[in-house]
């Protein structure tokens, strides 16, 4: 199952506040030209089916809530890949009056792909790196006691990072479904 997890990463693409450069590059990178499907990568339109969330653009006060919401709708194990410098630090938008900064402030990012925008090869590499982390998360996941007969698999709790936790606006309580 872990092997299968690494071989079929489905990707959902979230555009926060980008100049659309990374957006278009990323979508172009999933076309038949680069053939991401040979790695099992599928571009899935909904977070509920996805394993990897690709974030482009910096996070601002408006879309932080949306990003958090989309992240929480993904069933774990899940991985976030930040495409470009905007979701890493805020990029050229970092000084904007409404910009919070990188995606790390809102969701736990696993892979940063630098570049403005990154090369398509780097993007693919980032997704495959994400797939490896995904498989690792699956392997280290703990099975929570069955609640009402539906088994829930959650990843092991990440190392506590007080700085990130403090910066995250309104941490939403995780509740067992």
């Amino acid at each position: 199952m872990t092997k299968a997890t690494a071989k079929a990463p489905w990707v959902v693409h979230v555009n926060c506040n980008s100049c659309n450069g990374c957006d278009i590059e990323f979508l172009a990178c999933l076309t038949p030209m680069y053939d991401a499907e040979r790695f099992g990568v599928l571009h899935i339109g909904t977070p509920k089916h996805a394993d990897i969330m690709v974030v482009t653009g910096s996070v601002n006060n408006r879309n932080a809530r949306v990003l958090r919401n989309l992240y929480e709708q993904m069933p774990s194990p899940k991985v976030v890949v930040a495409m470009g410098v905007c979701p890493a630090t805020g990029g050229i938008f970092a000084d904007g009056y409404n910009v919070i900064g990188g995606a790390e402030k809102v969701v736990p990012v696993d892979v940063f792909v630098p570049g403005c925008p990154p090369r398509p090869e780097a993007m693919l590499d980032g997704i495959l790196e994400g797939a490896k982390i995904l498989a690792g998360k699956r392997q280290n996941s703990v099975t929570v006691k069955p609640v009402r007969r539906i088994k829930i698999v959650r990843p092991a709790a990440p190392a506590a990072d007080p700085a990130a936790a403090a910066a995250a606006p309104a941490p939403v309580k995780e509740e067992a479904k």
Binding site: A4, R38, G45, P75, I150, I152
Partner: protein, 292 residues
């Protein structure tokens, strides 16, 4: 009566046959889907995913967290799978074809109910389009069953296997109509209006949008069964000769992949208009020829 027929009829034990079919059908369906993705990739000049990719997808989905919007959703997903399995069992044991068709429709209806039970508008649109699809292809399937009745004098599937002439000989037009039906059921372009891999901007994922993790895997497995059933029907059109049946299946498979790659998605209203014009006309013409 030739060897294959004799083999099949002499080894006709309903329970064992059904069990074998239940185990083999998803495997065959998965291989067919993998081959389809590979063929599509080659048609677009790329390498494509490994042959076993549909199985990887399903295993991965099973290893994910169970997330449901509410409990009835689970029941609908399970019902969809169970009715699809029941359809297969009824076909393999040669039951009444009309009843089989009814059970098959039940399977589709459970999926529609599941899509309608959540509050996502995309899921609703997908479900409504699925209803339109059922409306579009069901008359053709009923005419197919009627054709079998005219030919063999009974609705039982077992009588088709016992007859000496292959169906394709007396109903070639109905076979052509069936190809369109299979394209709709397998969600091939231009018929993939209810749920599509390529329609993010329009309906996101349509009918199975709100399923996640293992329950999405259940709907995927039902899809594998559906694929296997479709190609089983194609084989049954030339049941007296295995080579002939396989040639038919390969032809249909290739045609579907070609059409899938050549056409853009079209509107649901167009789908109904097309299905009621071309395949239905073909089926009716064939039926008139069969009338004695």
């Amino acid at each position: 009566m030739n060897d294959i027929q004799q083999f099949f009829l002499s080894h006709l034990h309903p329970i064992i046959n059904s069990l074998i079919a239940l185990v083999l059908a998803p495997v065959i369906g998965g291989l067919l889907m993998g081959l389809d993705r590979k063929l599509t990739a080659r048609m677009q000049g790329r390498m494509g995913p490994p042959l076993l990719q549909p199985f990887y997808d399903i295993f991965k989905l099973f290893s994910k967290e169970s997330m449901v919007v509410h409990r009835p959703q689970v029941i609908y997903a399970v019902c969809h799978l169970l009715f699809m399995m029941l359809t297969l069992v009824m076909l393999v044991t040669g039951q009444d074809l009309l009843l089989t068709l009814l059970v098959h429709t039940f399977a589709a209806i459970s999926l529609v109910l599941g899509g309608m039970s959540v509050r996502s508008p995309y899921s609703w649109i997908g479900s409504q389009r699925k209803i339109l699809q059922i409306l579009a292809y069901e008359p053709v399937l009923i005419l197919l069953v009627l054709g079998v009745r005219l030919l063999n004098g009974s609705f039982w599937g077992i009588n088709v296997l016992q007859s000496d002439t292959p169906l394709i000989q007396s109903m070639p037009l109905l076979f052509l109509a069936l190809i369109s039906v299979i394209a709709v059921e397998m969600g091939k372009s231009p018929f993939d209006t209810a749920s599509s891999h390529h329609a993010h901007q329009e309906i996101v994922r349509g009918i199975n949008l709100e399923y996640a993790g293992p329950y999405l895997a259940l709907t995927e497995i039902s899809h594998l069964y559906e694929t296997a059933i479709a190609f089983g029907l194609v084989l049954a059109f030339w049941h007296t000769c295995l080579i002939g049946g396989l040639v038919l299946a390969v032809l249909v498979f290739f045609c579907l992949a070609l059409v899938d790659n050549c056409f853009a998605r079209l509107t649901p209203a167009w789908l109904v208009r097309y299905m009621w014009l071309v395949p239905l006309a073909l089926a009716l013409a064939n039926l008139i020829c069969l009338w004695r």
